[in-house]
């Protein structure tokens, strides 16, 4: 077994694989795969900060991704003025009430920290506030949801460029992570895993069912983009010239002018999609590099050493005077902010926000597989994990198809087994993920790129 793999080799292999996909399948597929690989890499870096640096097991990734996605809606969608005038005040009052409840809980926690009955006070406040909240906000919510229910039925957003939403998503995630962390971080590792998983379930339920906020299961489509639209590209002079320039060899063949124009049109349409994806890739690449740079800086700073010390021996770190609780909360917020950032990126790239699509298997456990497979505690490992896992995730269906055809080649085209297996091709990716995870945990428990321990 190879003890140490250089990360440069791994990334070169991934780059070659992406180019191969581009050559053999299509550049559109290769680029959309690359983009999702980059987004996955950001998610994996977020989880890696929590798990790799600090040993906090966060199974609530899905929830923070959804908060990031919600941020894109809240930031970029134009506000629905009718809805605001109908129920805006009620919602604002309810929001103030909610803030007051949360602040009062924190004050009780601080002031009465010695009191035996503190928890019962908090419990009572929470229980009483839910019906009250419903009483305050209920009428406005039904008013808002009844306005143009088919097309809007929600408050809308701030009509700002969508790129802001990435940062807003990060901030919102950090705020939620603060509350979640305050409640859950004191728990033991396996309890923390279960409770964060459940909290992410609560977050998804809220996003799914509070239609005044997110349109819920009715989805928000046609979100803004930080890059040009295909339709506009196809009309612009410079883009057509660009396409002509790149395909001059194809176009210079002696064709009659009509065929030439139709060929050019086709090329412009197909390359406009590729161009848009390329723009996305560039933006995402910048994001990945910036986050990777700062994560590496942080990991090798005194702060990073302290985090690893806390992770490896909490008691000793506490004895050295480190505030473990505070640092855990901070790193939980930091990691969740990055996950929220990635969630906003994902929704921006998709161009639509569908709360019902958030499932723990795809949005929590898959990200965890990325981190574990790539290398816990190593930022390059997390990025590599994002690439490798997403690559397998996408390519396992075609791969399974080939294998199935190989093994069932002798069977009739209409044979029940063959048709059934061909229909269940998408699920082979779960099989690949599971087997990959089990094998990696057994034979390379520190991942493809293990954590580097710097000895001074």
């Amino acid at each position: 077994m190879i003890k140490n793999i250089d990360f440069r080799i791994c990334f070169s292999v991934m780059a070659i694989l992406t180019v191969l996909v581009g050559l053999f399948q299509s550049w559109g597929i290769a680029l959309s795969m690359l983009n999702l690989c980059l987004i996955s890499a950001v998610m994996a870096m977020g989880v890696n900060i929590q798990w790799g640096f600090a040993g906090l097991i966060n199974f609530g990734v899905m929830g923070f991704l959804a908060i990031g996605g919600l941020a894109t809606v809240l930031v970029s969608v134009p506000p629905v003025h009718e809805a605001w005038s109908a129920g805006g005040i009620g919602i604002l009052i309810a929001g103030l009430f909610l803030a007051a409840v949360i602040i009062s809980i924190f004050i009780i926690n601080k002031k009465l920290s010695k009191n035996k009955y503190k928890n019962y006070f908090v419990f009572l406040i929470v229980i009483l506030s839910i019906p009250l909240l419903k009483f305050i906000a209920g009428p406005s919510i039904s008013k808002i949801e009844s306005i143009n229910a088919a097309t809007s039925g929600f408050l809308g957003g701030a009509n700002l460029p969508i790129i802001f939403s990435w940062f807003v998503g990060a901030i919102l995630s950090a705020i939620v992570a603060f509350v979640v962390g305050k409640v859950c971080l004191g728990l033991r590792s396996d309890y923390l895993a279960i409770s964060t998983l459940l909290v992410s379930g609560i977050i998804i339920t809220i996003v799914k069912h509070e239609e005044w906020l997110s349109r819920g299961v009715k989805n928000v489509i046609g979100l803004k983009r930080p890059v040009p639209y295909e339709v506009n590209l196809q009309k612009s002079e410079w883009f057509i010239n660009l396409v002509q320039f790149f395909n001059s060899s194809k176009l210079s063949k002696d064709l009659d002018p009509e065929a030439k124009i139709s060929l050019l049109n086709q090329l412009v349409i197909s390359s406009s999609g590729v161009f848009v994806k390329l723009c996305f890739s560039l933006i995402f690449l910048v994001v990945v590099f910036v986050i990777l740079y700062f994560s590496e800086k942080a990991l090798n700073s005194p702060w990073g050493r302290m985090m690893r010390a806390i992770r490896d021996n909490e008691e000793a770190a506490r004895a050295m005077g480190k505030n473990v609780v505070k640092q855990h909360l901070f790193i939980f917020m930091l990691g969740s902010a990055i996950i929220g950032f990635a969630g906003a990126m994902l929704v921006t790239y998709d161009g639509l926000f569908t709360p019902s699509s958030y499932q723990p298997l795809r949005y929590t456990f898959l990200i965890w597989v990325m981190v574990l497979l790539g290398g816990t505690g190593n930022n390059y490992g997390a990025v590599l994990g994002g690439f490798v896992v997403w690559f397998i995730w996408i390519q396992s269906a075609p791969f399974a198809m080939v294998v199935i055809n190989l093994f069932t080649g002798h069977l009739d085209e209409t044979s029940y087994i063959k048709v059934h297996l061909q229909n269940s091709v998408p699920y082979f990716r779960y099989l690949m993920m599971g087997l990959g995870l089990i094998l990696v945990m057994r034979y390379r428990p520190k991942g493809l790129l293990p954590e580097k321990i710097i000895k001074n």
């Binding site: 998983l197 339920t205 699920y427 099989l431 599971g434 945990m441 428990p445």
Partner: protein, 336 residues
Amino acid sequence: MDFLNSIILLTNFIIVPGITYGSQLALGAIGVTLIYGVLRFANFAYGDLMAFGTMVVILVTWYLQSKGISFGLLPTALLALPVGILLTIAVSLFFDKTVFEYYRNKKSNPVTFIVVSLGIMFVLNAVVRIIIGPNDINFMDGHKFIMKAREFKQLTGLNEGLAIKSTQVITLVTTIITCSILFYFLNKTKTGKSMRAYSNNEDLALLSGIDPKKIVLITWIIVSILATVAGTLYGLDKSFKPFTYFNNLLPIFAATIVGGIGNPLGAFYGGFLIAFSEIGLTYAYKKFFKYIMPESLEPSTLIQFISTDYKFAISFAILIIVLIFRPNGIFKGKVI
């Protein structure tokens, strides 16, 4: 009369569904808690193990139906249950041998166990979906209702009807039988006692000559039985869909922790607590108050604590509350 009507109303919409759902959760939660107590990890593959067992039961049910065999008034799935249990035991033992045993011998930390159980979760998930597909399957046959709402109204002359599905009675009876046998086994037999001893203190149990391999084997067998029975009962009562089974893992975990993780009796009560809070807190009590209050005081709103959309969220919220108040669960855990 009004009082009787209100009681029937609550029985029909809260007590009967609550007992059914609670039994299903309780069976599942006991399985999770046994794994935690003896093997010392939270098994995230449990929901998919339930789905696997149910899938086998469904396949055998279809086979029996195609042969024209049925179980009279009872669903055919009950006949297929033993086959499902056997195959689930085989799968559990296979994964234990190939995956978990290695980490048990290495005495890995709980997080490693959780991670490899995630791997198994992915694999089982894929296997179930590849074999039977991701769609909703209804495999309930036999007699559907023991009591229909209309019949009940005619019988008693009350305004409110009481409907009892046969699956609800089957669930309750099966749960009572399974749990009685299980608790008798754990508390009265020698093997059961050695299991409890092993869970309580591993080193001391080894010193007393208890064979850990046998304990692990028996635990997996019991867990597989519970998973298949719980899964089949849930599928009979509602329907079978792999994704739902995965999702059911969450309230099952909540029930386990609420009852004190590692404590089967606690898990049993935890299941009912979760089920009744989910149903009780999302039920609109308007009609109930209409019956018992004088006319002048009739409520104008639905009197619903939280809307039914948040059904799942309630179990999570209860779990978090319990974790804050009593991190060891309502019933002190860690001893089976």
